[in-house]
């Protein structure tokens, strides 16, 4: 095969789908064929059956909705705080010198390790779930945006100065619009991570949500339900990613033209 040679779109789709088919086929073979103990791994068919029962009888869609709300709530909270701080750090070097060392340190504090502390502070209600996602996302967003903003094209800044921009005008009408697509891309990336944090938050001290259903199913050895829950998370993550991508494209047509 020639390296870096592009693949025609039709073949691309076929190749992409065929791995899913292969994956499920392998899964069906080891489970239905009796190669692994059913207690540890449900087969695809009983997974679908369990999932259907979850949705119809156990009102699992309510858990799904609650998890989605937590992800977006916590993510929104983190974005509202982090985006302005990130822009300020990227634009003004003293602000960066002041905050960067702390943020770099805080970034390595694992959000999951904060859960016991957050439960002490905020109980096991919704606020605690939002805070886990907030802690997990906020420092990441700040740092990535600060770096992107800091590498704003200097020639654009210089051009704006020669056109009469003030320092304030540079930040608002050059630095911010120039980096808006990158900032939106960063948020899309971090939203993906927020899905991980929310499940961790729901595994501990929770009575609702997809994560709760998963930990609950574990005690009943309902592996079909666990796998169904995991797949649901994957699907929602994929959907929100597509939606976010389409939204960015609609918002910043100039960056793709």
């Amino acid at each position: 095969m020639r390296p870096l040679q592009p693949v025609p779109p039709g073949i691309r789709t076929v190749l992409g789908i065929s791995f899913f088919v292969l994956f499920v086929a392998f899964w069906a073979w080891i489970t239905l064929g009796g190669h692994v103990n059913r207690i540890f791994l449900a087969d695809p068919l009983s997974m679908l059956r369990d999932g259907w029962r979850l949705l119809v009888e156990d009102r699992f869609w309510l858990d799904i909705l609650i998890t989605i709300w937590r992800v977006f709530g916590g993510f929104l909270l983190a974005s509202v705080v982090a985006v302005p701080i990130g822009i300020a750090m990227g634009a003004w070097k003293p602000v960066e010198a002041f905050l960067e060392p702390f943020v770099s340190f805080a970034r390595y504090l694992p959000a999951s390790a904060f859960i016991p502390l957050l439960i002490l502070w905020a109980g096991i209600g919704e606020l605690e779930k939002l805070l886990v996602i907030f802690v997990g996302s906020v420092f990441q967003i700040i740092l990535i945006i600060a770096v992107k903003v800091g590498s704003t094209r200097r020639d654009l800044v210089e051009a704006a100065y020669t056109l009469g921009s003030t320092n304030n005008g540079i930040v608002r009408r050059v630095i911010m619009p120039a980096n808006a697509p990158e900032i939106a891309e960063t948020l899309r990336l971090v939203l993906g991570w927020a899905w991980t944090y929310v499940i961790v938050a729901e595994l501990i001290g929770s009575s609702s949500g997809i994560g709760y259903m998963i930990i609950n199913s574990q005690s009943r050895l309902a592996t079909g339900q666990i796998i169904f829950g995991i797949i649901v998370i994957g699907l929602i993550g994929l959907l929100s990613d597509f939606a976010f991508k389409a939204f960015n494209r609609w918002l910043f047509p100039w960056s793709l033209a």
Partner: protein, 261 residues
């Protein structure tokens, strides 16, 4: 009185990793009359762009000062419009919005801006492209927009840093005629940096030749060719004589650069 005065401007860059400081520009004196079209010609790395950036206020001189209409230049401002060699249109703004940028920064209301923008779109021949993004334009069209953007601000002086350097030869020739045509119709003081000898003569009423680094002024040649100039001028005997003379001047400097590099 001179429009622009460059008085003893020099520039020294600090040495890299404790090395010797690098002299980019020897002290330069230059007086530019109003509505003159001056080209600054020199080999690569001679500091001609640095000189232009000092006039723009994007860099500070190590010594000396720049006066525009008798006022010292301390920072960039809308009275000195600049066109860069790299494509510096704001990619998130359309052609029309790019041209309107300076007027908007000044707080001019939209209705007033629209008229001015339309006239400059017309001037650089971009009618029909007002709502295009810069990415959709060719290099020549981008630079035309950049010229319109700088001119729309009605600057006292227009600074151009090898604006056509990245364009192919044919486009470059057309752009030279376009810019010269604009200058012939609406007089403006222009400082135009280039390393292209033909371009330097064709555009200029006066060519300043600079030496290899550290740059200083080697010769100051008046170009008395008649206006309006047509591209056929480039093959006339007068033009060729000037070109032969400047080629000799610049060749010596280019060789010096090649030896030290």
């Amino acid at each position: 009185m001179s429009k622009l005065l460059i008085e003893g401007v020099s520039r020294t860059f600090a040495g890299v990793r404790g090395g010797e400081p690098v002299k980019a520009l020897m002290p330069i004196d230059l007086a530019v009359a109003a509505n003159d079209f001056i080209t600054i010609l020199g080999p690569s790395g001679c500091g001609k762009s640095t000189l232009l950036r000092i006039v723009a206020g994007l860099e500070a001189p190590s010594e000396g000062r720049v006066l525009l209409d008798g006022k010292a230049v301390t920072r960039p401002g809308p009275d000195r419009g600049m066109v860069f060699q790299s494509y510096t249109l704001f990619p998130w703004l359309t052609v029309a919005e790019n041209i309107a940028f300076g007027l908007r920064e000044r707080g001019m209301p939209e209705e007033e801006r629209d008229g001015i923008v339309a006239s400059y779109v017309d001037l650089v021949g971009l009618k029909g492209f007002e709502n295009h993004w810069p990415k959709q334009l060719s290099g020549g069209m981008q630079q035309r927009t950049a010229i319109a953007r700088a001119l729309a601000n009605d600057p006292e002086i227009l600074l151009l840093d090898e604006p056509f350097g990245a364009l192919d030869n044919q486009t470059r020739g057309l752009m030279q005629e376009l810019l010269l045509g604009i200058w012939e119709r609406r007089k403006k003081t222009v400082l135009f940096v280039t390393h292209d000898i033909e371009e330097a003569i064709f555009m200029a009423s006066r060519v300043i030749v600079m030496t290899a680094r550290p740059g200083r002024i080697k010769s100051d040649v008046a170009v008395d060719l008649p206006h309006p100039r047509h591209y056929t001028l480039k093959t006339s005997p007068e033009f060729s004589a000037l070109k032969a003379r400047l080629t000799e001047d610049i060749r010596v400097e280019a060789m010096r650069t090649a030896q030290t590099a």
